[in-house]
């Protein structure tokens, strides 16, 4: 009788440990899926339709044949987006005419406020080679999915909101293969050579 109780106790303890381990495994796996090491798709496998600041329809396949640089942002953001746009304008200036043959693209994660007109108005303050894209919420979602980028609406005061979003700059070669990411605030000494590598 006593050994049966003991056995049952062991079995329960073992079950509890197994349960905790499985929960731990599941959580780890879930977290890994969210963030770590998932690379953007090649451009020819992406699928979305967005609109540029001139109202022209753009699909990822339009980028093939030229190296491509893409980043996500929104014009309502006071800090990181103007900073990234100003960094990119600086890189394009350094690259000079070499950068003419590239697609340099900002995809808005805030299409509710960023209309093509607003994007155009905003981007007119930066290098003219930067194209701004916006579109319907499902199309923005499809675009982010292709890049494995994430964004989230965060409520702020008085019904206002801001957006969390992937801040890196994605680089693809002319065949549409993912090449590299330039992290936010990366030293220009490293950023420009990364771009040069996809141009050559």
């Amino acid at each position: 009788m006593r050994s049966a109780t003991l056995l049952r106790g062991f079995a329960m303890a073992a079950a509890a440990v197994a349960f905790m381990l499985s929960v731990g495994w599941w959580q780890t796996r879930d977290r890994a899926q969210d963030t770590a090491g998932v690379l953007p798709l090649p451009i020819d496998r992406m699928s979305f339709t967005l609109m540029d600041q001139d109202g022209k329809t753009v699909e990822p396949q339009d980028w093939l044949g030229r190296p491509t640089m893409v980043f996500f942002g929104f014009t309502w953001c006071p800090d990181i987006c103007p900073t990234t746009l100003s960094d990119i304008s600086g890189w394009l200036e350094t690259l000079g005419p070499q950068a003419d043959q590239m697609n340099t693209v900002l995809i808005s994660v805030d299409p509710e406020r960023d209309t093509p007109e607003i994007l155009g108005d905003y981007l007119s303050n930066f290098d003219p080679r930067i194209t701004g894209l916006t579109g319907s919420l499902p199309q923005i979602k499809a675009a982010a999915k292709g890049f494995r980028a994430t964004y989230r609406k965060v409520p702020a005061e008085e019904g206002d909101y801001t957006m969390d979003h992937t801040a890196g700059v994605f680089l693809f070669d002319a065949d549409g293969r993912f090449a590299n990411i330039i992290d936010y605030h990366e030293d220009p000494r490293y950023a420009v050579p990364k771009i040069t590598r996809i141009i050559k």
């Binding site: 800090d79 303050n125 005061e157 801040a167």
Partner: protein
């Protein structure tokens, strides 16, 4: 309010200057205050500046006010796994004998509900409140929307 007008008058009299305007309160020195031009007043504006603490006690920037915005707030851009978020900062620590910079990609003052268009080349006053050192007002220079650092120079530059 009187102080703000006095500051405005001072700016008007001083004209364009190449050296960064510096103001002090207690052992704190604030300088390199700049902002970016806004398109209209719908989007939030930004203020960056540097605070130096020559004293022996820690202090903290706890709030800001400005006639240029109805709801100025302290924020911090934080990167987590490559994703940028912008949480509200309750305070910005100013360590004893050290300095803290509100600068692109880090702490910054976000100006919600702009009351005026921020035009390049103009200045507007911002009043900072510190936990211990009290209040101080500094003129903020509006730079180009694509600017990433102040154009004025500090004495030590």
């Amino acid at each position: 309010m009187k102080r703000i007008f006095a500051t405005l008058a001072l700016i008007a009299a001083a004209g364009p200057a190449l050296a960064c305007e510096t103001v002090t309160t207690g052992s704190l020195e604030v300088s390199r205050a700049w902002s970016r031009a806004s398109i209209g007043t719908a989007r939030p504006g930004v203020v960056y500046l540097t605070i130096r603490n020559s004293g022996t006690a820690d202090d903290a920037l706890i709030s800001i006010t400005t006639p240029a915005a109805d709801m100025p707030m302290l924020h911090q851009t934080v990167m987590t796994d490559g994703i940028a978020s912008m949480p509200h900062a309750m305070e910005v620590p100013v360590p004893a004998g050290g300095q803290v910079a509100l600068e692109p990609g880090g702490y910054h003052a976000m100006l919600m509900d702009l009351t005026q268009v921020l035009k390049e080349g103009e200045t507007f006053p911002v009043t900072l409140t510190f936990r211990d050192a009290g209040e101080v007002t500094i003129p903020v220079t509006v730079q180009n929307i694509g600017a990433s650092a102040p154009t004025c120079t500090s004495p030590d530059e």
